[in-house]
């Protein structure tokens, strides 16, 4: 081997390997002062790197971070803002999928099965649910329900809806009826959560069959249910001082949303690559491969 090759080997070697270096390298070094000199300078470089002064401030920053960890772990009533955070997190995931599928729609020829009619029918059912939940009084809920239930049943029974969409429409009808009977924010949020869970289930099916258009529509319904149905109830509960630690139902709700969040994250694996990138970016998840070597 000539000097150029030996020096390249040295420059990219794990210097601890020099003790067990190939015989031809060792033989060359024994007879070449230049290459031996390079090996020695590289060793000094490594030593110098390990003796660089330690930056100040690391210990103080570590203590501060550990303090945050300890106080977060010890704080039992973290639920007020926590509740919102958990739910907003899920909303971010759904909105990300909405955004991502919009990109997917543009990039790929859609072969969607959710028709515009289905989307309109489900939109109206979602609106009806949200209006019921927002009604000013229990009496208003009852009146709003009675005034629209027949129309909603017709929409839900439309032959143009796919079996999955009819199933979802049915869940919205059931929730509408449930909303008409009460005005407890926790019960309302639970009802909306069941609808949200049904939507996530259908999103999984849509992703599996590559139905980008359907996935986009469902993600939109999910976002609206979460932002305007569930979060609005959570805001009320927060304002009233409810925390998951004192309210087991609220606690279960948060856990349920953690599960839904996981399911939404799992959808990353079944969406097209192009939209997968968008979802990851929006969720701040690591990309599979980062900054390849230049």
């Amino acid at each position: 081997m000539d000097c150029t090759r030996i020096q390249e080997w040295l420059l990219q070697s794990d210097l601890s390997e020099t003790g067990s270096m190939p015989a031809d390298v060792a033989g060359h070094l024994a007879g070449c002062a230049d290459c031996r000199g390079l090996a020695e300078r590289l060793r000094r470089l490594e030593t110098a790197a390990r003796t660089m002064p330690e930056p100040a401030g690391a210990e103080a920053a570590k203590k501060a971070f550990l303090g945050r960890l300890a106080s977060a772990a010890a704080r039992p009533a973290a639920g007020r803002t926590l509740t919102r955070r958990v739910l907003r997190w899920s909303a971010a995931a759904a909105a990300a999928i909405l955004l991502a599928t919009a990109v997917g729609l543009w990039l790929f020829s859609p072969s969607g099965t959710q028709t515009a009619e289905a989307s309109t029918a489900l939109d109206q059912l979602v609106d009806w649910n949200l209006d019921l939940a927002d009604a000013a009084s229990p009496g208003d809920r009852t009146r709003l329900y009675a005034a629209n239930v027949d129309k909603m049943k017709r929409l839900a029974g439309e032959g143009r809806l796919s079996a999955d969409d009819r199933d979802l429409a049915g869940a919205l009808l059931v929730n509408g009826e449930r909303l008409s009977h009460g005005s407890d924010p926790v019960a309302d949020a639970e009802g909306f959560t069941e609808v949200a869970a049904a939507i996530v289930q259908h999103m999984g099916k849509a992703a599996k069959r590559g139905d980008t258009r359907g996935l986009k529509g469902l993600a939109g319904h999910y976002s609206r249910i979460l932002l305007h149905g569930i979060n609005a109830r959570i805001e009320k509960l927060d304002a009233a001082g409810a925390t998951p630690d004192r309210n087991p139902k609220l606690d279960r709700l948060i856990r349920r949303h953690a599960e839904l969040r996981e399911q939404l994250a799992a959808l990353l694996k079944t969406t097209p690559d192009a939209s997968d990138k968008e979802i990851r970016r929006a969720l701040d998840l690591p990309a599979p491969r980062h900054h390849k070597g230049k």
């Binding site: 003796t51 997190w89 932002l227």
Partner: protein, 201 residues
């Protein structure tokens, strides 16, 4: 009905800036305990064992103690969020270094996007360090300044290998590359450092 105020939205709700509370909460639900585990190790222990190394790397990468502090915190928050992605039995230090370098490159990208003034080469020289013996300090200071002038990826590879003693395999994983590419970056880094420190070593 009120469709207008609830139109379909592309709105992306703000990602929690500080997910410590959320993660701890969910972890306690998962495990039924107050401990948050990462690769079977309590998170506090992970912080104790690896914080200084992550901080050191980020300080040498960014050349700023302020950035190093922010990015180290960001690294451990990301580790907390993504602890399920850590494969037990693999090198946790390398896993954290990968997260740290991604956090650093993300910051660089954000700054480039915002057209913020980039860090000046050699800024690291003026930053506070813990004093050592004078001779060591002198050579260390020169080397620190030289390292700060390396391109980003060779700088990262050199620091991971020479400062943190990661294997080239771990470095390759950390930079999302092959072992050969990692070694090539090391070659570039060492060659440039020897040039810059000519006569000092």
């Amino acid at each position: 009905m009120g469709r207008g105020r609830r139109e379909r939205t592309n709105e992306i709700a703000p990602y929690p800036l500080n997910p410590v509370d959320v993660e701890l909460r969910l972890s306690r639900h998962d495990t039924g305990s107050q401990d948050v585990l990462c690769g079977g190790i309590a998170m506090t222990q992970v912080v104790e064992q690896h914080w200084n190394a992550v901080y050191r790397l980020l300080y040498r990468l960014s050349g700023s103690s302020h950035d190093a502090e922010d990015l180290t915190q960001e690294t451990f928050l990301r580790a907390l969020q993504r602890r399920d992605s850590f494969r037990a039995g693999t090198n946790m230090r390398a896993w954290l270094m990968r997260i740290a370098s991604n956090a650093f490159f993300d910051l660089q990208r954000r700054r480039r996007t915002a057209k913020a003034t980039p860090l000046e080469d050699g800024q690291v020289q003026g930053a506070p360090t813990q004093a050592g013996p004078v001779e060591t300090q002198e050579l260390g200071g020169l080397l620190a300044a030289a390292i700060a002038r390396l391109p980003e990826t060779p700088r990262l590879v050199f620091l991971m290998r020479s400062l943190e003693e990661l294997s080239f395999r771990d470095i390759a994983e950390a930079i999302g590359s092959t072992e050969e590419t990692a070694r090539w970056h090391m070659l570039q880094a060492r060659r440039k450092l020897l040039e810059m420190l000519d006569g000092k070593l």
